[in-house]
């Protein structure tokens, strides 16, 4: 089975760099490409009754927006330049969910961009790159 490279993509320029890097990598190693977009979400946040009631409708909207504003343009660009790629759109904690995506059998590595948080904020909140470097089941490439 063809091995796959998963690239975390959120529309930012850093994640654009990661995507370019992953495309070259996939071409060189004849691997497949998966573009993963994760919507930050936690099942443990607190919502008002009205937010609860509208949650399902909001989720549908958010998924559509993510697809049309983030994933569709980049998938179109990839297919225009003749690169085959699959996409993955999920909700969850970004690092944890990327790890889940990477846990599929045929994933050979993860590529992510670095957003360049200051030392202080990543010390307090942690960074996606840092958590992945520690917990990823496959090799991770962090593209500056």
């Amino acid at each position: 089975m063809k091995k796959k490279i998963v690239v975390g993509y959120d529309g930012s320029s850093a994640s654009g760099n990661a995507l370019d890097f992953a495309v070259n990598l996939a071409k060189a190693s004849q691997s497949g490409l998966v573009v993963a977009h994760i919507l930050e979400w936690s099942p443990y946040t607190f919502l008002t009754p009205t937010e609860l009631e509208e949650r399902h409708a909001r989720r549908t909207e958010e998924l559509e927006r993510a697809k049309s504003a983030v994933l569709d343009p980049v998938m179109q660009k990839l297919s225009d330049s003749g690169i085959e790629a699959a996409s993955e759109l999920r909700y969850g904690h970004i690092a944890e969910t990327l790890i889940k995506v990477a846990e599929a059998d045929d994933v050979e590595q993860l590529v992510i961009g670095r957003t360049g948080h200051s030392q202080l904020s990543s010390r307090i909140f942690g960074s996606v790159a840092g958590s992945l470097a520690q917990a990823s089941p496959v090799p991770v490439t962090i593209v500056p």
Partner: protein, 513 residues
């Protein structure tokens, strides 16, 4: 739409401006008017069984909770571990990520119930019924878990799902749809009655009681001032959130309230640990008082009534409000929300209310006769003497600040926030009942919301007596109708339960983590 909005705003402003002009006596006028116009309703709901002093409504709730407990085979104890697993998300399909989780439904329902009932209500119960009231309160809390389980399962099962993806649920819907399914008559009539009582409950316990006690707490800290001032400020903020759609205030409250709850319980625990040697004595008082009354007003029956009343008012089991809050969860199995909801009376009553009661007892707020060990009554003989003559939220405040002086300020903030989040929750419950009766529509909804804000002012201005009586009466009236429906529909819940447990056993329902 814009016009009605402006008109409503103008009406509120006029109301706010005319109030001060009427000067101090407004508080008294509101009070008298209030006592006169709601007295008959209160005395009907709380009328005792002939020849006793035991209100029939309290019996009604306790019998229902007992029936559900037995009918579902002590489900609150059997399903407890599974409930926790559900809240942790062990059984949630990862593909449903982004939907309302069990945890979120529980947290939102809890922020509607954890509130003044836990702080002020318990103080009232212990103040009148003595430590023994705590025993009956815990017992009622444990039994109430079965009532909550029944109503929340039905709430999810018979909710309405609209094409735009929003959901609406609650007793109104299971009364109409569930009764139709079982071929029972009068479902619609029950639903209408429930909706009317729910609106009254939203104005009473969900609103006026909150405003009233929030004012009492603020006045306790900053010194006495007229209640309508608090009322107008509160009304303006509530107005901004529910009419103006100022989501930021609501979401800040929703995030701060759980931490306040945790802080409250932790502080109570620290006070209990500091007085660890007295915990045994306190439980002794609770058990002894539960059966002998230790000379409190009304004796042992007084303790029992106070305990049951406060538990019901605090956790709202059997009242039907939780069924509205829980029905938005995303689940294929309605029964799972029943399991989750049974944690609510546990956290609310068995944990938080008991903490309050223990702190009041342990810090020695209740005055007892050193020779006989019996509690001394106040001059009117209506309640136990307290060290500083405090009742309600002031009693809790005194108990906590006897160990930590600063805690009265934290408590004041907590009370205001709890009151506010409970108001927001109840404005939602009331609105659901209102739209069930009158149909959906911006103007209709606005009318309800404006009336709701006016009641905030009335609640803050009225003295505790008439308000607390009416609050109790309106909320208990919901239970009268709701429990009839629960009896009629409990076989449906049983069928769901048996099918679910069988599939859980055969591993058809799998853990995802």
């Amino acid at each position: 739409m814009k016009k009605t909005y402006a008109a409503a705003l103008a009406a509120t402003i006029v109301l706010a401006c005319t109030l001060p002009a009427m000067a101090q006596s407004i508080d008294e006028q509101v009070n008298t008017l209030f006592a006169n116009s709601t007295g008959w309703f209160v005395s009907f709901i709380f009328s005792p069984f002939p020849g006793t002093s035991f209100p029939w409504i309290v019996g009604w709730l306790v019998v229902a909770a007992t029936v559900f407990t037995l009918y579902f085979g002590f489900i609150q104890f059997r399903a407890f571990p599974h409930s926790i697993a559900l809240v942790r998300g062990d059984y949630s399909d990862p593909n449903d990520a982004g939907e309302v989780s069990h945890f979120q439904a529980l947290a939102t329902a809890l922020s509607g119930t954890v509130g003044l009932g836990n702080i002020a209500g318990v103080a009232v119960a212990v103040g009148i019924g003595g430590p023994g009231a705590t025993f009956w309160m815990i017992l009622a809390g444990l039994m109430g878990m079965a009532s909550k389980f029944t109503e929340c399962t039905l709430g999810v099962k018979y909710r309405n799902e609209y094409p735009d993806g929003t959901v609406s649920g609650g007793p109104m819907y299971y009364m109409t749809k569930g009764f139709e399914e079982r071929g029972l008559p009068a479902g619609k009539i029950l639903a209408v009655m429930f909706a009317i009582f729910c609106i009254l409950g939203a104005f009473g316990g969900g609103n006026m009681f909150q405003a009233n006690q929030a004012h009492a707490q603020i006045a306790n800290v900053v010194g006495d001032y007229p209640g309508w001032i608090t009322g107008v400020i509160f009304a303006a903020i509530v107005f901004a959130v529910i009419v103006g759609g100022l989501k930021s205030i609501a979401s800040v409250t929703e995030k701060v309230v759980p931490f306040m709850g945790v802080l409250y319980v932790l502080t109570a625990l620290v006070i209990l640990l500091m007085n660890a040697d007295k915990i045994g004595w306190a439980f002794g008082q609770i058990f002894e008082g539960a059966f002998t009354g230790l000379g409190v007003a009304g004796g042992f029956v007084g303790a029992l009534i106070q305990g049951f009343k406060r538990a019901a008012f605090s956790n709202e089991a059997g009242v039907g409000s939780a069924a509205i809050a829980h029905s938005a969860v995303r689940t294929k199995e309605p029964i799972t929300e029943g399991f989750v909801s049974l944690l609510e009376p546990f956290i609310d009553t068995v944990v938080i209310c008991t903490m309050t009661a223990l702190v009041i007892i342990i810090t020695g707020q209740l005055v007892s006769d050193p020779e006989t060990g019996l509690y001394l009554l106040n001059e009117g003989g209506s309640a136990i003497q307290t060290v500083d003559g405090n009742t309600g939220v002031a009693l809790t405040s005194a108990a906590f600040s006897s160990s930590f002086g600063w805690f009265q300020y934290v408590l004041a903030v907590a009370v205001v926030l709890f009151a506010f989040s409970t108001m927001i929750s109840w404005s939602y419950y009331g609105l659901k009942a209102w739209t069930f009766l009158f149909g959906e529509g911006k103007t209709k909804e606005l009318v309800f919301k404006v009336i709701f804000c006016i009641f905030v002012v009335i609640g803050a201005a009225a003295s505790l007596g008439p308000v607390i009586d009416f609050s109790d009466a309106a909320i208990f009236a919901m239970a009268v109708v709701n429990i009839v429906a629960l009896y009629a529909l409990m076989p449906i819940v049983k069928r769901e339960l048996e099918s679910y447990l069988a599939r859980l056993k055969s591993n058809e329902i799998k853990k995802f983590t």
